[in-house]
Symmetry: C2
Subunit: 198 residues, 2 copies
C-alpha cells in the first residue's frame, strides 16, 4: 500500500529515470531491451523489459462500391489464421501514408485514389516503444499483381463496410490494431453509410 | 512474387508447421520464444520470434452518474505518461470478470455492482500468443483504499463517457487496448447516452 506517495506536486504520477539500457535479444522485427529505472521520489530501482521496433502502419481501404479490403493470413503468435486490415512494418523515415499505399499494393494489388492519416496509436505503451499509424485509402481498386515477401501468403476478402463492423463486434475479427483502425474509421463510415455500423 | 502458391485447395493461406520452440529470453511478464516453422506446401523453413505471456484483462468501469474510471500512469515502453482504462495481467486460471473486478479495486479503489465480459481481442497475433479480455463494470463507486504493487502509481480521472470518446478520437488516449475497450463498449454507451459518442 503506497497509495499516498506522489511523484510531484501536481498529483500526476512520476516519470521514472532511465539509468541503463541493455539489449537482451535481437529478434528480426524487434529487439528486447532491459531498462534499469529509478523512481525519482521513492528512490526504488528495478528492471523493466520492453520491445523496440520500427513504427507500424495499417490501413482502411474502401472500394468505390463500399467494400473494405481485408486480408486473411497465418500468424505465428496465435498459431492461427487471422482476418485483418492490410499493414506492416514501416521503413526508416518512411511517411505513414506512403507506407500504407505500399503495403496495400504489395499485399493485395489494390491502389487507391485518395489517402490520409486517420490517427496514430501505441500498440502497448507498457512494453513497446513504437506507434502504429492508421491510414484511410479511398476508391481502392485492384490494379496490379501482388508482391509478397518470401514468407507472405494472404487471401483477400471484400466484405461490405457494415459486414466488417458486424464481424468486429461478433468476435470474427480480433486483431487489436485492426479494431483500432475500424474505431478511427467509424465516424467517416457512419457518415457514408446508413448509420448502422455499431 | 509467390502470389499463386496456395496452401490448400480452399484458397485460404496454409498453416505453418511448428518444428521447434526455444526460449530466447525470460522477461518477467513475458518470454521471448523462437519458433522454427515450415510451410507445408512451399517446404520453406524459417525462424519466427513471439512473446508468450498470460492473458491480460482490461475494463470499462462506469459510475452511476455516467463517468468512466480512467487511470494515468508512467509506462516504460513509451517512456511517457499514458491515460488508460484499468487492467493488468490475469493470474493462471483466473476468470476474466473476477480479474477485472480485482484490478479495478486494487488500482483505483472502485467496486461495481454488475460486471460482464464484452469480448476478447488478440493484442498482436503476429508476435503474441495471448488474449486481452475486455470487461464492463457498471455502477462503480470508490469504496475501498487502493492496493498498488511496489512499482505502481496511478492517478484516477473521472471524465464523462462522451469526454472519453472525444479524447479517443482526438489522440489524447492512444493505448491500443484501451481503444479496443471503448470500441466494444460503444454500442452500449450509445444506447445509454445522447448518441453522440462518435
Amino acid at each position: 500500500m503506497v497509495g499516498n506517495q506522489k511523484g510531484d506536486e501536481s498529483g500526476r504520477p512520476a516519470r521514472w529515470e532511465i539509468l541503463d539500457r541493455t539489449e537482451e535479444a535481437s529478434c528480426r522485427v524487434f529487439s528486447v531491451v532491459r531498462k534499469r529505472c529509478r523512481h525519482p521520489v521513492r528512490g526504488r530501482e528495478d528492471d523493466f523489459y520492453v520491445l523496440e521496433s520500427s513504427d507500424w502502419v495499417n490501413l482502411v481501404a474502401v472500394t468505390p462500391d463500399g467494400r473494405m479490403v481485408l486480408v486473411e493470413q497465418y500468424r505465428f503468435g496465435s498459431e492461427d489464421l487471422s482476418l485483418e486490415v492490410p499493414g506492416g512494418l514501416m521503413d526508416l523515415g518512411e511517411d505513414p501514408v506512403e507506407a500504407a499505399e505500399r503495403e496495400l499494393k504489395e499485399e493485395t494489388g489494390f491502389v487507391g485514389r485518395r489517402s490520409r492519416l486517420l490517427g496514430s496509436v501505441r500498440p502497448n505503451p507498457a512494453i513497446q516503444s513504437n506507434h502504429c499509424h492508421i491510414v484511410l485509402i479511398e476508391e481502392a481498386e485492384r490494379l496490379v499483381d501482388v508482391d509478397w515477401d518470401e514468407n507472405e501468403e494472404l487471401a483477400v476478402q471484400l466484405p461490405s463496410v457494415a459486414e466488417v463492423f458486424a464481424m468486429a463486434h461478433s468476435g470474427r475479427i480480433t486483431h487489436a490494431l485492426t479494431l483500432n483502425a475500424l474505431f478511427l474509421y467509424q465516424p467517416i463510415g457512419l457518415a457514408d453509410s446508413r448509420g448502422d455500423l455499431t
